[in-house]
Symmetry: C2
Amino acid sequence: MKIRLLLGVFLLFGFTSVAQSQKTLNLMPVPQKMDIKEGKLYIDSTFRLAIQGKPDQRIYSAATRFLRRLDEQTILWFKQDQVNHTDRDSKALLQINVQKPGKIQLKEDESYQLEIGTDKIQLNAATEIGAMYGMETLLQLLEADEKGFYFPQVSIKDNPRFAWRGLMIDVVRHWIPYEVIIRNIDAMLAVKMNVLHLHLTDDQGFRVESKVYPKLHEKGSNGKYLTQEQLKDIVKYAADRGIRVVPEFDMPGHASSWFPGYPEYASAPGTYQVETKYSHFEPAPTMDPTNEALYPFIDAFIQEMTHIFPDEYIHIGGDENRGLQWDANPKIQEFKKKNNLHSNMELQTYFNGKLQKILAKYGKKMMGWDEILEPGISKDIMIHSWRGKHSLTEAAQKGYPVIISSGYYVDLLFDVKDYYLNEPLEESHDLTPEQLANVYGGESAMWGEIVSAETIDSRAWPATAAIAERLWSPKEIRDVKDMYRRLEITSNRLEFLGLTHNKNYEVMLKRLTNGADITALKTFVDVVEPMKELSRRKQGITYYTYTPLTMVVDAARPDSKVAREFTWLVEDFIQKPTQELGNQIKEHYHLWSENHFKLQETMKVAPAIREIEPVSANLARLSVIGSQLVDYILAKSAGKLKPKNRMDYDKADKLTDEMRFMVKPRGNVEFIKIIDSTKKLLTYAVD
Amino acid sequence: MKIRLLLGVFLLFGFTSVAQSQKTLNLMPVPQKMDIKEGKLYIDSTFRLAIQGKPDQRIYSAATRFLRRLDEQTILWFKQDQVNHTDRDSKALLQINVQKPGKIQLKEDESYQLEIGTDKIQLNAATEIGAMYGMETLLQLLEADEKGFYFPQVSIKDNPRFAWRGLMIDVVRHWIPYEVIIRNIDAMLAVKMNVLHLHLTDDQGFRVESKVYPKLHEKGSNGKYLTQEQLKDIVKYAADRGIRVVPEFDMPGHASSWFPGYPEYASAPGTYQVETKYSHFEPAPTMDPTNEALYPFIDAFIQEMTHIFPDEYIHIGGDENRGLQWDANPKIQEFKKKNNLHSNMELQTYFNGKLQKILAKYGKKMMGWDEILEPGISKDIMIHSWRGKHSLTEAAQKGYPVIISSGYYVDLLFDVKDYYLNEPLEESHDLTPEQLANVYGGESAMWGEIVSAETIDSRAWPATAAIAERLWSPKEIRDVKDMYRRLEITSNRLEFLGLTHNKNYEVMLKRLTNGADITALKTFVDVVEPMKELSRRKQGITYYTYTPLTMVVDAARPDSKVAREFTWLVEDFIQKPTQELGNQIKEHYHLWSENHFKLQETMKVAPAIREIEPVSANLARLSVIGSQLVDYILAKSAGKLKPKNRMDYDKADKLTDEMRFMVKPRGNVEFIKIIDSTKKLLTYAVD
C-alpha cells in the first residue's frame, strides 16, 4: 500500500522512471506478475536451501551454482557445499519445490512462483526449469543497504509470453570456439532464454565434425570446427540450464563448404574451396537436387547428427539461394522441365520435400528461413521469419508454426531500444487466436561476418537481454529509459558470469594505441558508434574472413551510452533550457572539441587509429557549433540575443548535413546521435 | 655506432633505464646477442612472408597466426591468407628458413637468427621451433612513429640459457578448465616457454578422464575434469607452439581423489571423499605400497595415459607424504620390518622404484618433487626442486637431472622482481661443469588453492614472463627497472593474445561494489596487495574448495604498480628532497587520505567490501603522517624547521609498526610498501 502511495507521489512530479523502477526492480526480463511488499529479508552465512518434490537431477547442480554465485556476490561464506537429493531440510531459508522433472523441449512448463516472506523464501515450480528461472530472478533481486544483503519481500508469478526464446550464433563466418558458446549459454539462462540455435555450416566453413564424412570438416573448416564431443558437451551444458540446442545445416545454398570434400554433390563440376569472401562469388556453390545420390549422402549425415542433437527440430537454412548454378546446368534445367518445376524456388521446394522426409525418418521436424515458405511445403515445418514481419504473419495465417528474427539481427548494430521495441505482433495484425498460437517466439540473430571471438559478446550483448525481455515479459512492458536502467545492471551481472562484452573494450583500445595512453582514444570511442546495418560492408570494400577485426569500429559499441545520454540531455534542455543543463551539454562539447588535439598526439605513435582523424576533427568542429548554440539558446531565453547571431544557421545546418553523409572508408564510426542532437539545438535556436 | 655514442651520453646523465631500453628494446625475454642499427624497416599492406627449407608442417599454421597477429596490431590488411608450403616467393619481405623439422622434446635446438635489414627480414632457425621464437621476437620488435609501423634494424642471435622453461598449472585445487589452459599456452609461446606441466590429480580432485578406470574421474572430480579428447587437443595445441606437456599424477600422497572410486588401494580401509579442505585431514589418504594389486592398477592407468601424453617425462609428484596412514596400518609396519625399510621415506623409495619400472615399461622417464631424492633412487629421474635451492645443488652434485621451482611459486604472490632476481645458480655454487649440465631449467608454479578460472591469470601473469626471461636470457640481464618497463608492455601484449590478468580486475571490483561506482574502491585496491606467501591461509581461517574467491584480496594485484612506483618516488625524494618530488608524494598521500571517506560511502551499499574498512582507515591515517613528514623534510632541507616538530617521531614510528602487524582477518590486503616508504621518510626526517 505504501508503495502505491509513493508511486503516486513520484508520478505527480514526473519521476516516471523512478516509478517504473519500483515496479520492475532490477529484473530483466520483468516477470508477468509481481507484488512488491515493504520488508527486507536479510541473509547471512547460515543461508541454506532445500529441494522438495520431484525434480530432474539437473536441479542439484543448478542449485549449487546458484549458491556459489550468491556467495561470490555476498562473500558471506555459506556453509552449504554441493546440493543433492538429501538437502531437504524444511528449516532451510530457501525452499524449492518442484512438481515433476522437466523435459528440454518446446512448450515445456517454465512457470514458477517466488514468495519472499519475513523468514522464508518459497520457490515453487512445475519443473526444475521454472525453478532455475526462479533462482535467476532471486539473484537479480539481491540488494544491499547499510545492514547488509537482503531480498526485498515480493510475490512473483511468472511464466514466459513465448515458448521459443532463442539466440542464434553463427560460428562459421568467423570461428567462434567452444568456450564462447559455453559462456553465452550461461548468459542465456540468466535472462531466461531457452533455445541456442547454432549456425554450423555455411559458405565459409563446415564447423561440425563428421565421422561418417570426415572430409566435410577436414577440407571444409581450416581445422576450425566443433568436435562431436564438444557439441555433445554443449548440448548437455545447455540442457542442464533448460536450454534446447537447434543445429542448422544450411542447404541447398550457403553450401560451399560441403564441396571441397564432396564436389560431386554440387551443381557444377570442378574443385571447390571454402569461401573467404562474403559475397561476390556467384554463381554460388549449391547442392544439386537432381542428383539422386545426394539424398542418401544427406541422410547418413543427418542420421549422424541426430546422435548429437536430441532436439526435435533441425534447421536446414534454405535461405538466399538464387540458383545460378542450377540455371547454368543443362541437366538440372532438363530435370525441371521433366518434373514440371517452373522456377528455382519450385526446385528448392522439391528438394525441401525430400529433405523433410529424411528428417522425419529420424523423428525430426524441419525448420528453415522464411524463403522455404512456398506452396507445397508441409504444414509442420517451422518457419523462421527474417525478411520482415510480413513473413511471420503470412506463415501464421497459413497455419505454419513460426518464430521471428526479423528486427532481432544484433549483428546490424542497431540501438538496443530498436530491438527492444520490435514487437513480434503489431497491434494491426489480423491473426485469429488460432493463428496467433502459431507464433512461437523469436531469436536474437548473431551473424558472424564482422565479429571475432574477441568482439562477438559486445555485439550480441547486452542487446540480447532486451530481446529476451521482449520475448518473455508482458507486451506492455516497453519503458525505454527503465529498460536502459535495468540493462546496465544486467550487463554487469552478465560480465560477472563470464561474458566479455565490456571488458574487452579497453584491451582493444590499448592494442590500437600500440601501448600509448588510451585516454583520448577512449573519449572518442565512447561517443561514436559503428555504422548501423552492417554499412561498413556496403562501402565498396571487400572484407575477407581474415580481415583483422581490431579496428576502432570493432571496439566501438553499437549503442553508445555517452551518445544516448547526451541525446536525452539535449531533449531535456529543449524542454527547459536552464543554465545548468546548458552547462552539462557544453561540458560534453568542450570535452570532444579539446579531445581532438589530444587524440592527434596519440595518433603520432598509433598509426592504427589515424584513419579516424577526419571523424574526430568533424566531431570537434560540430562541438564548437553545438556549444555556441547552447549559448545562443540561453541568451535567447534570457532575452539577451543579438540579431546578428541568426546568421549562423545556414552554415551550421550545411555542416551538420555534410557530416551526416561524409564518407567514412574503413574508419566506419559515426556520431549520428550527436549530429542529430546538435541539429535539434539548431532547429530550436532558430524557431 | 651512433647508438653507442648516444648510450654514453645517456649514461653520463644517469639515465640508466633509458640506456638499458636501448639495449633491450621492448623484448622479453631479452635475446642472447643483439646488435641494434640505426634504420627502420617500414611495412605496409604488401607485407608477405615466405618459408624455405625443411620445417615441420606446424610452421605454416604458426606463420599464419603470426601474420594475423601482425595484421591485427597494424590493421594494414595484408593480402596473404593461410600460409602453406607453396609460399616460397623469394621476394617476400620476411624470409624464413628452417633447416630441419623440430621435435617436441627436451634439448631440441631452439636457436634462431633474425636479421632486419633495409628491405628484407631474414629469419633463420635450425628448427621451426626456433623460427616460431623468431616470429615472437619480431612481433615484440614492432614499433610505430609518425610514418607508420616499422621494425628497427637489428641483428639478433638467440638461444635459450636453459632447455626446460615451464609453467605448472594446478587444475585440481580449483577447477581450471580447458580454455584457460589454451590461453596460457599462447602466452607461454609469447615469452618462449616450452613446458606445460599439468598437475592433474591431488586430494581435491582427479581431473583427468580415465576410460580404463572411469570411477577415478567419475567419483573423484565432481564432474570437473579434462576429457581425453581435451587433453589430446591440449597436447597438440602445445606441440604446435613448440611446447611439451608433462602430466603429473601425484603419488603416493596427495592421493585422496583416487580412493572414492578405488578405496582398496588406500592404506586404511573405509570410504573416501574428495577433500574440500587443503590441510587438516591427516592421516592423509595415501596409497598402500605393500598392496601388490596396486602396481597392475597403476600400470594400466599409466599405459592409458601414455596414449595421451607423448612426452618422455611423467611427473609422479611424490611430495609431502608423512605416511601417517602407513604408521597406523600394522600390515604396512610388518612389511617395512620384513623388507628392512627403516622409515616411511624408505618405503616411499621402494614404491618409487616399482613406479619407475612401470614408467620405463612404456618408455617414460620419471620426474618427481625433491622429496624423492633419496638413496636408492635411480639416476635418470628428474628431480623437481621446490623446498629450496639446496635440493637443486644436491641433485646436480649427485648426478641427477634437476629443474627448479623454488622461488618461482607464483601463487605466493611475491613481487615480480623477487621471482625475476631468483637466479637458479648462485655465484657461490660449487658445481663442476659436468654437474652444472644437470641443471635443465625451471618452472613457474601456479598452485591452485586460492585461484579460480577468473583470477588465475592475474596470479600467474605477468610474473611468469619475468621467470621466462630468467630461464632464457643471459644471467647478467637483471636490471629491475628496465624489467618492469618491458613487463608492462609485455603484459598488455599478453592480454591482446587472450589472457585476462588485467581485464578481470574491474569486473571483480564492480561485483564487489554491488553495482555502485568503483572509483574509490579502485583507488584503494590499486595500492594494496594481497598478503604475500599465502599468508591468508595462515590466519586460522579454514578455506574450502568452495569458498568464494571474489573478495578484495582476490582482486588485488600481487605487485601493485602504484605502490611500487611510490616506493621509487620516495627513494628519489630521499636522494634529493625537491619540492616537486615532495608534491608528487603528497598528491598520493592526499588521494589515499581523502579516499577513505569516499570508500566509506561506497561501503554503505556494498557490504562485501566492509571488512576492508580498518585497512583503508589505517592507510588514511598513515597518509596524513606521511604528508606531514614530507613537509617536515622540505622545511628541514630549506632550513625552516621548528624544533618542536621532532616530537612526531615516536608516535609515528609506533603507529607504522602497529600497522605492519595488525590482524587482517579475511580482508587480507596490506600496504606494506607504503608503510615501508613512510618509515623511510620518518628515518630520513629524524636523522
